[in-house]
């Protein structure tokens, strides 16, 4: 699929004092993923289709549709991250890529979510999984004003 418009990305990187093998488990074992990310039926198998689920909110059913793209043990993991249900055709269609790099004290964990299109902003409904967190953050920001 060719992208004719510029897309944007989110990159979060962190040094952790844990070996890549351990981080890999947290990224690829369904029960462990659920503890820090979301309820899921992930399997580390290329082509596996799965969902992340959160409590539904207004205008959003809480489901993210995914498909595993890359599984390179202890090094790289990638899956699609897309809107589900009735907004599947027009909503968010991004790719989340995890890269683990060994460091002397542990691992550098890098998450890159690519493919945010300008048109996604037009489809923005405000009711996403970031919504509650956003309200929490907003409260903190406002408290400091």
């Amino acid at each position: 699929m060719s992208e004719t418009t510029a897309t944007r990305a989110v990159v979060v990187e962190r040094d952790v004092p844990h070996p890549p093998e351990k981080v890999w488990r947290a990224l690829t074992e369904s029960a462990l993923i659920a503890e820090w990310l979301m309820t899921n039926d992930f399997q580390p198998v290329v082509g596996h289709r799965f969902t992340f689920r959160m409590a539904p909110v207004a205008n959003w059913n809480g489901v993210t549709d995914c498909e595993v793209l890359i599984v390179e043990p202890y090094t790289r993991l990638a899956y699609t991250w897309a809107a589900s249900g009735e907004s599947a055709a027009t909503g968010l269609q991004t790719v989340v890529t995890w890269t683990l790099t060994p460091t002397p004290g542990g691992a550098l964990v890098r998450m890159e979510q690519t493919g945010f299109r300008a048109q996604d902003e037009n489809n923005y409904r405000g009711a996403t999984y970031g919504w509650q967190q956003f309200m929490g953050r907003l409260e903190t920001v406002l408290a400091g004003l």
Partner: protein, 110 residues
């Protein structure tokens, strides 16, 4: 940021800076459309006070209302928050939060 956007952003911040208005907006965002009566019951302040708060929310674009018979029905327009935050910002905040949780989990794991 152009002046129009800045004005919208200021209006949204001002609207949400008040805890009662924030509570009203959160009720509407979570529960969908509600009448002024129901909102008044939940807000714990007088109906004129609620109406005044709704006026500020409406002006910021965060809330829309419609009359039906004797009732005024209000609904949240969360897309107005796009003035403050976009998808990329939201996802950035989301992943930073999840990275914190990932680290907590890693610290607990063998």
């Amino acid at each position: 940021m152009n002046l129009g956007v800045r004005a919208t952003t200021d209006a949204v911040f001002k609207a949400l800076a008040d805890p009662t208005r924030r509570a009203i907006f959160e009720h509407l965002a979570r529960d969908g459309e509600l009448t002024v009566h129901v909102l008044t019951d939940r807000a714990g302040v007088s109906q004129p006070a609620v109406s005044k708060h709704l006026g500020v929310l409406k002006q910021s674009g965060l809330v829309r209302d419609r009359r039906q018979g004797r009732e005024t029905h209000c609904s949240a327009q969360p897309q107005a928050l796009a003035a403050l935050v976009d998808w990329v910002t939201l996802h950035d905040a989301f992943w930073r939060d999840r990275f914190d949780r990932l680290e907590t989990l890693l610290n607990r794991m063998e």
